[in-house]
Symmetry: C2
Subunit: 556 residues, 2 copies
């Protein structure tokens, strides 16, 4: 009997090779094997081709399972379509309402997804459209190709585990979906975390001049990202961009696709509950081979990489090192991938890896610092939205209005020169040429204005996008720390151990905040300098052009 | 019996001291003596005060005369209100439609008026409102205070004279209102001009490298115009601006009011039929004591003076010298004024003063040159209207849009700095200050943009205004020369004398065209240089400000 599947959601073919399928339609599958999240088959109208695996349910003898079933047994699973964003991230995303009304480039949005070993090797494709469609609850078709995010799964499995062996005297939070709970912060605080921590996994928080900070990476490195190259596969029907990464500590180039970054991102988010993992540049379904988008994504990835390599904890972690150094050997890659996905030191266990300074922090002081930082991030977030809107508008004005004005002036001078050229007397000729040249100079200046924003405003906008991502992370980070503090205050009995564990969370949080400030000051200083240098160069170029024009009047 | 007058037009009092009067109302005059074109009296409602003399008709025993009656006996006189613009000028004005759709500062418009000895000393006042109201035919109240322009009067009296002794074999033009006729060009060509020409009045056209040109002024000079001072008179009810003029050849300052310039202008226009007398800057009734207007008029007068003193014929003529050199001695002034107004060498007789090069010009060549110049002026006129519109719009954009954009960027940077200031760690402080300073720098640059047009666009606009005036003059000048050429072609019989006289007109016309081109090349070269130097200075100022801001980031 031919393998059949029931269609769960309408799908309209958008590319050659795809076929449209309708809800409740029965389709015949040519194979059960997915190709990058797609199945090949024939619809009821006899059309053969590809459709998203997640849009159908394979009909089997005994069990009916969504092909993307990932272990969720909650009755919600069916109604809530699989999401490619972790709960944590999508929470913070919706809390902040990032990008709303900003008119900016929406750099705050990001995407994470996580493949299982099975579908990893099948390589889902970048061509999946509309991955950033807003997701409602129930009835909404899933984004394809997509898998449920691992952080959520881990979170919930952990939760089950915790509930199973719940015996601590300190009460658990009622809201089992709070970040404090999901991150593992609560489990750690209650002493429920346990894992074997190797020396290499140990992360040190040291007491610096300005408070707790991550111990510096003794072997700092950076990593370049080359221009991506377009690759095609899957009989040429699907194509993707491949980025060449060259870390300075190996100096060996490895090739990675956006989905590899995406996978890595998901690993990092689940691994480090109080570290602000830089957001990846926006995933874009359409026009992603267009030069502008490629250039913008590459710039975004460069910033992302910069923040990865300059973070003492993130830079050194195994999964990132695997990502940066594993070559074309598929087996080695798969091994590292599996290891990362089975890493025990995630969530609650992450806190087990942290060594703190000898003297515990003053709770009051921590609380006040965290409050201050909360105010800081709120204001910074509000104001960089304004800055971003303003400079994007300024860029638009320069590329349109300013350019047009200078060019109109240039053209009118040229018209003046043309009128004057009707007088061909010797003493006129020099002036006529000079005026014509002045007209051209103004037209050129118009072009300068149009080209300039790319040099000195876009980079600021890129930076702001990255920071909007960080600012979106911090509410969760602060939430974890606050959850711990609250718990400690509520239950003064278990002071000793609870305090120690709370101190670990506080140290890590303050170290991360310190790192944020340091990086922020470094980044904004260098970006403002870059901007001003570019602007100076720009106005000098205009001046030179005008001086050139002025000289033409000396001809007489 | 009290002196009474009948009101010809409604007048609504606009200033203290004035009274309203209605058409057909009878008013009682306190005195027949006009004060600057105003009479003092009492209206039928018993209100006493000033009203325009030209709005009433004094009731006498035998004759009914408009107080401004100037010798016109045509029945038209009553219906056509007195105009302050000469026929010639208003013709050319309407022909060109100058300023229509230009959106510019309307520099093409100008005003001339001419006082008789009687009302001169009464000093009509600058405060006459709305002197540039468009004038319809009939029914429209006259502009006050005002007198009929002398050129028209002379033209028509000459015309009568010509008709009286008409005996030439060459026919007269049928259109007695053509410029060729009114300027005296026809009369001269027909040998009807006669006057005694002193050596000092002789004007030489010499053959230069580029054709006929005015003999250079052996004693060139310039004349400065100081900032005007406000004077009040007439019991403080009327006030006016007085300009201090200091010509370099006497180095003695004389004080002149706008109406003196106006009077001089009228003399020059009637005196020199084929010379382009520079137009005076626009007369403006309201807001004329406002700084902007005063500054604009002064700049216009400076340009006007520049063109007067650099014209070999205009600079040397008696009436201009009288204007420049006559001091506060009222008697001397009145004497020179009377002499100028009785000058016989106006119109047709002007051509008697011209000496030409020995070899007469080739008619064909003259015709082709004139045709070329006609095309030139047409194109130049069209194109400077576009330039003027463009740079005025550009100025507006810089003063509004550009300024706003830079200031918005500055403000957004300041907001960023303010957010950052919430983090008061030592390593943040330098950056915070630098960003705040950068914000201020951008706000300052916004101001620079707003202030700049005054420096480098307004002067071009002023220059274009002046040239639009010249371009408005040339159709009449060309008309005179063409009228002469046509007449010569029509009547080959009288070749000898007619040709000689036509040659004189051609030489004068070409000399004036040559002068126009020379002045134009000189003015536009220097103005474009000025503009570019200003622009360079402007962009250097911006660069310096940005460099200053950049340095603030080195503080760490």
């Amino acid at each position: 009997m031919a393998l059949r599947a029931k269609v769960l959601y309408d799908f309209h073919s958008e590319n050659p090779g795809e076929i449209s399928i309708s809800e409740n339609e029965l389709v015949t599958l040519f194979s059960e094997e997915e190709l990058e999240g797609w199945l090949e088959g024939e619809n009821s109208r006899g059309e053969a081709g590809l459709f998203p695996a997640s849009y159908v349910e394979i009909i089997r003898d005994h069990i009916t399972s969504n092909t993307n079933n990932n272990g969720f047994s909650s009755p919600k699973t069916k109604a809530l379509p699989p999401t490619q964003t972790s709960f944590t991230s999508s929470d913070s995303q919706s809390q902040r309402g990032l990008g709303a009304g900003s008119g900016g480039s929406g750099g705050g949005s990001f995407h994470t997804s996580q493949g299982s070993d099975d579908d990893w090797d099948d390589d889902w494709d970048d061509s999946s459209p509309a991955t950033d469609v807003p997701q409602g609850l129930g009835g909404t078709p899933p984004l394809y190709p997509v898998t449920t995010s691992l952080p959520a799964r881990r979170g919930s499995s952990q939760q089950h585990q915790q509930q199973a062996k719940s015996s601590a005297t300190v009460g658990r939070n009622l809201n089992r979906f709070s970040t404090f709970v999901k991150s593992g912060g609560e489990a750690f605080l209650l002493g429920e975390a346990s894992a074997f921590v190797k020396d290499g996994d140990r992360i040190c928080v040291v007491m610096g001049k300005h408070g707790p900070e991550w111990q510096e990476d003794p072997y700092p490195f950076t990593c370049t990202i080359d221009d991506p190259t377009k690759q095609t596969k899957f009989k040429g029907m699907k194509s993707y961009m491949s980025y060449g990464l060259t870390p300075t500590h190996t100096n060996v180039q490895v090739n990675r696709r956006y989905k590899h970054f995406d996978w890595l991102y998901a690993r990092l988010v689940e691994r480090f509950p109080v570290i602000s993992v830089p957001h990846l540049p926006e995933k874009q379904a359409t026009g992603r081979f267009e030069e502008d988008f490629i250039s913008k994504r590459r710039k975004g990835l460069i910033w992302w990489m910069n923040h990865m390599t300059s973070h003492p904890v993130l830079a050194r972690c195994d999964v990132f090192q695997h990502f940066l150094t594993c070559g074309a050997d598929e087996k080695a890659w798969k091994q590292g991938k599996r290891k990362a996905e089975r890493d025990e030191l995630v969530g609650a266990n992450f806190f087990l890896t942290i060594s703190t300074p000898d003297v515990p922090l003053d709770l009051q002081e921590v609380e006040s610092k965290i409050e201050g930082f909360k105010t800081f991030t709120k204001r910074m977030d509000e104001n960089i939205v304004i800055v971003n809107t303003t400079i994007n508008e300024f860029a638009r004005k320069q590329m349109a209005g300013f350019k047009k004005e200078y060019q109109k002036v240039g053209q009118s001078f040229k018209l003046l020169g043309q009128a004057f050229e009707l007088d061909q007397q010797a003493y006129s000729a020099g002036l006529n040429k000079a005026i014509a040249y002045t007209g051209e100079a103004y037209e050129a200046i118009g072009e300068y204005f149009a080209e300039q924003p790319r040099q000195d405003l876009d980079p600021i906008s890129d930076l702001l996008d990255l920071y909007r991502g960080h600012l979106a992370n911090f509410p969760d980070i602060i939430h974890v720390q606050k959850g711990a503090l609250t718990k400690v205050k509520d239950c003064p009995k278990q002071e000793g151990e609870l305090h120690d564990r709370c101190n670990i969370i506080s140290c890590a949080t303050l170290a991360e905040i310190q790192h944020f400030h340091r990086t922020r000051v470094r980044d904004f200083r260098s970006q403002m300098q870059h901007h001003l240098r570019q602007q100076i160069g720009f106005f000098q170029k205009i001046t030179a052009k005008l001086e050139d024009a002025l000289q033409r009047y000396d001809d007489e």
